[in-house]
């Protein structure tokens, strides 16, 4: 049936598809926090493994871009390695692990510790874009709730958390309000990272492949994490520095070092940690 073997376009997606995705991105930027449906394609990696982010990146990346891919804050995790290799292969772009050098950063579950700057784009991989999904399973209902700005259910959920646990028991994928209008799921980043989204000079794009949604936070947009006056939003605090670079005020991974309860706490952002160690910092574990 086929006369020739398959061949693929620059950055894998065909140009028609990229144009369609770019239109969705433009709409998303024009209505910050609003989930724009788009005709998500099958990608050569499975759904749930970053197809939304990969499609967004494939649609915006050009030959002059420098790409960084992280997963859990690290450039070295298998899925990040795989996605970076994919773009190096199908788009032949320059890749880096340094946050400051990258023009496009695709991420799963973290925002880099190094503050982002103007001209950079942060592309998030999103599993469930709908912040109301686990309160209301039906898409037809949640779209109406967004349209009517009917977010009472979310506040009731947060209130019930406090009533039951004394805390808001959401620690990641913590819902935010975008520029005073749409409630948005920031993807499963720890709530530690939520404040970095506010007034960020970089463009933030969110791609959910399986769920066929793209949304965006344009540069310098107001992002508030939902809370109550008497229970203000607070981020996680670690009571020790990074064991490797001594950094404080950063998100730490807990690494089990032996079977006798030994633990190493180290920067989740491996690039940040390496830069600090290169600059001569060192932590208590070294």
């Amino acid at each position: 049936m086929t006369g020739s073997l398959p061949a693929y376009n620059f950055a894998y997606l065909d140009e028609e598809t990229k144009r369609m995705i770019r239109r969705a991105i433009l709409k998303a930027v024009a209505i910050p926090g609003y989930q724009v449906p788009f005709a998500s394609r099958e990608m050569p990696m499975p759904y749930g493994w970053g197809t939304g982010g990969v499609q967004v990146t494939a649609s915006i990346i050009g030959p002059d871009d420098v790409l960084k891919v992280i997963d859990q804050g690290s450039d070295d995790t298998t899925n990040a390695v795989s996605i970076r290799a994919f773009f190096a292969n199908v788009a032949n772009v320059a890749v880096t692990t340094k946050t400051a050098e990258a023009t496009v950063i695709q991420t799963r579950h973290r925002i880099p510790e190094t503050p982002l700057r103007e001209g950079q784009t942060l592309v998030y991989q999103v599993p469930i874009p709908e912040p109301l999904r686990f309160l209301e399973p039906r898409e037809t209902e949640t779209r109406i709730m967004h349209a009517l700005e009917e977010y009472g259910l979310m506040h009731v959920k947060l209130y019930e958390d406090i009533a039951k646990n004394g805390h808001i028991a959401t620690t990641y994928a913590y819902p935010v309000k975008v520029e005073g209008r749409y409630v948005m799921d920031p993807s499963p980043i720890p709530k530690f990272d939520n404040p970095k989204m506010d007034d960020c000079p970089a463009l933030q794009l969110f791609g959910a492949g399986r769920e066929q949604r793209i949304y965006a936070i344009p540069p310098h947009t107001r992002i508030e994490s939902l809370d109550f006056e008497d229970h203000p939003f607070r981020v996680q605090e670690f009571d020790r520095p990074c064991g490797l670079c001594g950094a404080t005020g950063v998100y730490l991974d807990e690494i089990v070092t032996d079977d006798r309860g030994g633990r190493l706490y180290a920067c989740s952002d491996t690039d940040y940690c390496e830069e600090r160690r290169m600059a001569g910092h060192s932590g208590p574990a070294l």
Binding site: P46, Y47, W49, H167, A169, Y172, L244
Partner: protein, 365 residues
């Protein structure tokens, strides 16, 4: 120290090398050829084409080989290639009444125009493992039947339709193109064209279970197999420059017309209703399951109360795609330690606070 997250690149390269090695298997055994796969595992190839939504037996055979026989993985390979192809046009509706029939059976009529034709079926075989399968014995050639020049077999639904005993087949809304969920995002509620597309690419096992559930009382539809037919049909595309349709190729399809419980209203006399299944290649299990689910999903049209999973289009369509399903289920093996760390930290804090005696007016956070 910190070994767990380092060296990912080398590990992946090595893992893939091992995979390639295992895929090939024992080098003293000849490699499978694509002809062998397409010719002797043709139903696997058919399933890959159907759920991969791409009619290309050679490519499907390559995918089966590359995927080591894991059909969902093969479907995935086909989908990821198909999605990069341009869409030129929508074909004319295929005319299954003019199918070159290999198999055609009806459960509603003992005999009917065009006849009952068993064709290459597992039905009525005894499921005893054949010792011959351990060898490569001679297989007798099949008998060929002489067909009349025009082997027209009218569809059973047309036979009932002539007596107005079954609902109409619906109209194509003008010249509007059928919906295409690979080119526009899924939104609810959907039209029947989009539902049928989703079901045609949907997972055979999922649709089988849903169809089965309608037979066990979860959205009962009292179905009869009006007919199942398998064979080749021509695919025609209208070329605007010519102003008429030309044949661009032919595909093997399996079609099932399910005849379901009748309804009636003040305006309309009682009549049977339809469930429809159409699948690339030979797969009557899938075509039949699809027709049951199609009928169940039409509940609203007949004012039936929607109480069962098979009647719930959001539930069915959101979960019928095995590529979406396998991806998301399997993503759980990706690292989640950032989120897990966040939960761990909260859990420990809650435990600490639990150990401390509560004080009057203590505001915890």
């Amino acid at each position: 120290m910190y070994v767990a997250v380092k060296g990912g690149e080398a590990a992946i390269a090595n893992a893939h090398r091992l995979l390639a090695d295992r895929r090939r298997g024992d080098r003293t055994v000849p490699a499978l050829t694509l002809e062998q796969i397409a010719g002797q595992l043709s139903l696997a190839v058919d399933r890959v084409m159907a759920e991969g939504s791409l009619y290309d037996p050679d490519l499907a055979a390559m995918a089966v080989r590359q995927a080591r026989g894991d059909l969902i993985e093969a479907i995935f390979l086909i989908r990821a290639y198909r999605t990069t192809l341009p869409r030129f046009a929508a074909s004319q509706p295929i005319e299954t009444g003019r199918m070159r029939i290999e198999r055609r059976i009806s459960a509603t009529y003992k005999d009917l125009p065009g006849g009952q034709l068993l064709g290459p079926t597992f039905d009525y075989t005894h499921r005893l493992i054949d010792p011959e399968m351990a060898k490569d014995g001679d297989v007798a050639a099949a008998e060929r039947r002489e067909t009349a020049g025009d082997s027209h077999a009218p569809r059973v639904t047309d036979i009932l339709g002539d007596e107005a005993l079954i609902e109409g087949d619906g109209d194509r809304a003008g010249e509007a193109e059928p919906a295409d969920l690979t080119r526009s995002p899924l939104g609810f509620p959907t039209g029947r064209d989009l539902r049928l597309q989703a079901l045609a690419r949907g997972d055979e096992g999922f649709l089988l279970a849903l169809g089965y559930s309608t037979q066990r009382g979860y959205g009962r539809t009292h179905p009869f197999v009006g007919e199942v037919r398998i064979g080749f049909v021509d695919v025609e595309v209208e070329l605007p420059e010519f102003g008429f349709a030309v044949t661009i190729g032919r595909v093997r399809v399996t079609e099932c017309q399910m005849i379901s419980q009748f309804t009636g209203s003040k305006e309309e006399p009682p009549q049977f209703t339809r469930g429809y299944g159409l699948v690339f290649g030979q797969s009557e299990r899938k075509a039949m399951a699809m027709s049951l689910v199609d009928r169940a999903l039409r509940a609203d049209e007949f004012d039936e109360e929607r109480r069962s999973p098979a009647q719930d289009e959001e539930f069915v369509l959101a979960h019928s795609d095995n590529i979406q399903a396998t991806g998301f289920v399997e993503h759980l093996k990706l690292p989640h330690y950032v989120d897990f760390q966040a939960e761990l930290e909260l859990l420990r804090r809650m435990r600490r606070e639990g150990d401390r005696p509560a004080e009057e007016g203590d505001e915890t956070e």
